[in-house]
């Protein structure tokens, strides 16, 4: 465990001495701003069922940030070490593969959580400036941020896996982007062809669809099924990553 903390500290250090964390943070803040404004204008134009929270996370701007965060945060993790040859230095110190994978993943997850902190301020600010007229339901807030964290866990695990496969950061980024996009497109698929196919298929696809999870959770409904789904999928991809990193040791 001691080794894990040392590695985690080093990984966090690597995030914050390079411009990556700051660039991603700036972009996420800008896009969040747009998403928030889009949500405000929906509420402005007509009475609406959804709260400001749910409209924010339905905005196209939100999904834009959703896609680039994961590749940017994870592409570096293993690909850079492979390219620089530092993986050899690292694994000739007494460290185990799970410690390395865990530390890198945890560092990216911490940075990811930090990215969403400024957006909390948006909602508080709206509520405060309108003297409570813009309603920010607690349930929606909790649901939205909970699903953001678990979705992040899943996509970061996918990104870790993509990065462990290659020594090229661009390839890693494209790979993790593609996997995240496919996951997102499942929801779009249902939206587009939903009426033409059987309900069973719609239900099955919705079980996996990120858009559907966002819709439910930002309405303040905390459903355990997506939570279990994301957490187990994260563990699955981390196991894959561990195996890829450890494969070096087993390769014939």
């Amino acid at each position: 465990m001691r080794i894990f903390w040392i590695l985690l500290k080093k990984e966090l250090h690597a995030f914050f001495v390079s411009p990556v964390a700051y660039v991603v943070l700036a972009l996420v803040m800008i896009l969040n701003g747009f998403a928030f404004r889009a949500a405000l204008s929906v509420l402005e134009s007509a009475p609406s069922e959804g709260s400001i929270v749910s409209w924010t996370f339905h905005a196209m701007w939100f999904w834009l940030s959703y896609f680039f965060i994961f590749p940017l945060l994870t592409m570096r993790l293993f690909a850079e070490e492979k390219k620089m040859g530092t993986l050899e230095t690292l694994f000739t110190a007494p460290v185990r593969a799970w410690q390395v994978v865990g530390a890198k993943y945890m560092a990216s997850l911490i940075v990811y959580c930090l990215l969403w902190l400024p957006s909390l301020f948006n909602f508080k600010f709206a509520s405060w400036i309108s003297a409570g007229q813009v309603e920010v339901p607690d349930g929606a807030m909790q649901g939205a941020y909970l699903i953001l964290v678990v979705m992040g866990m899943f996509n970061l695990a996918v990104g870790c896996f993509a990065s462990s496969l290659t020594a090229n950061q661009i390839v890693a980024a494209i790979l993790s982007f593609t996997l995240s996009l496919l996951h997102f497109l499942m929801g779009i698929f249902v939206m587009v062809v939903g009426r033409k196919i059987s309900d069973t298929i719609v239900d099955i696809v919705n079980y996996f669809a990120a858009t559907e999870h966002i819709r439910i959770f930002t309405a303040g409904l905390i459903d355990s099924r997506p939570l279990v789904y994301y957490v187990t999928m994260s563990l699955l991809f981390l196991t894959f990553t561990h195996h890829v990193v450890e494969f070096r040791r087993w390769r014939p």
Partner: protein, 321 residues
């Protein structure tokens, strides 16, 4: 300290290390010598626990390199080829990170880091980013990292590669000073390096061990002969007369450019010195000698011979690498 038995490593369809076995005693400085691509780095990576062998086994400090990888890595200080380091860290920061990974902490760690920085001469660079350091300094930082946990065994993959002559001398002095505390296995393709700093040489070529002995013994055991270069004036079939001297295996006349001086190369049996005999003969026959020069076989000759896989004994390639 190191015990390697019948070790083989195959990469997709290519055999990098082919059934090698060798043994290193505690306190020895062993040079791993071979041309590029001979299998040196592969063997060292296996010994440092970075990757497994295809077959055979190896123990380091009594631990199996595959099954007890963590213990092996704890007792080995490994410096990879090209010294890969985290370029976004400062020297001292990096050494502290590595020292912590290897189990050091607190005041003793800070003291040890100070020691290895002094030893490798990077103290002045401790606040600099590794990315901004020159190749020589990076190499030293990597060496400091290998030393930081006082490992029983140091495995150094081409430690002087890319250094300038002053730095090379510095590293060699350092290696000599480490000899009392550590066992050292270092790889190189530079011959002077092993001649100057190693107790024993393991020569490896195309994945096989070709020789394993002290540098002096290797040169002596060379099946090849000593060469004697002569430049003299005289007439007649000098080559035949020279070849008649006991101990001379063969005498060749080389192309001379300045008559009446003629150049000869004598191939002399090992352990023979025929210089006096040549002198006596010259006096008797009234030849004049203006040059006589004996060329002892160097490690380089052994190396070239082994690398070229020269089948005919007695033929020293006289040119340098």
């Amino acid at each position: 300290m190191i015990d390697v038995q019948d070790l083989t490593k195959q990469y997709a369809g290519r055999t990098a290390v082919n059934h090698i076995s060798f043994h290193v005693e505690p306190g020895e400085v062993v040079g791993f010598l071979g041309p590029n691509g001979a299998g040196k780095s592969t063997t060292m990576r296996i010994l440092s626990g970075y990757m497994p062998a295809t077959s055979g086994h190896a123990t380091v400090a009594g631990f199996d390199v595959f099954h007890q990888s963590i213990q092996v890595r704890q007792s080995v200080g490994y410096m990879p080829e090209m010294a890969p380091l985290y370029t976004d860290m400062k020297v001292k920061e990096y050494l502290a990170f590595r020292a912590q990974l290897k189990g050091l902490s607190g005041a003793s760690m800070r003291r040890r880091i100070g020691e290895v920085m002094d030893l490798t001469g990077v103290t002045d660079m401790r606040r600099r980013l590794i990315g901004n350091l020159s190749k020589g300094y990076r190499q030293r930082v990597a060496l400091a990292d290998a030393l930081v946990h006082k490992p029983k065994l140091l495995i150094l993959d081409e430690p002087t590669n890319g250094l300038d002559p002053v730095q090379i001398r510095h590293v060699r002095d350092l290696l000599r000073s480490l000899k009392s505390k550590h066992t050292v296995l270092l790889s190189t393709h530079i011959l002077q390096e092993v001649e100057q700093s190693c107790d024993r040489v393991v020569m490896i070529h195309q994945g096989r061990i070709r020789a394993n002995d002290t540098p002096q013994n290797l040169a002596r055991q060379l099946r090849s002969t000593t060469l004697l270069h002569l430049e003299l004036s005289g007439s007649g079939n000098l080559a035949a007369e020279l070849a008649a001297i006991p101990g001379v295996r063969k005498a060749n006349e080389d192309a001379g450019d300045s008559t009446p001086w003629r150049r000869f190369t004598l191939r002399v049996e090992p352990e023979h010195d025929v210089r006096d005999a040549v002198m006596d003969l010259a006096t008797k026959k009234n030849w004049r000698i203006r040059e006589m020069h004996r060329q002892l076989p160097t490690l380089e000759d052994v190396f070239v011979e082994l690398s070229m896989n020269a089948g005919t004994p007695g033929d020293i390639p006289t040119h340098v690498l």
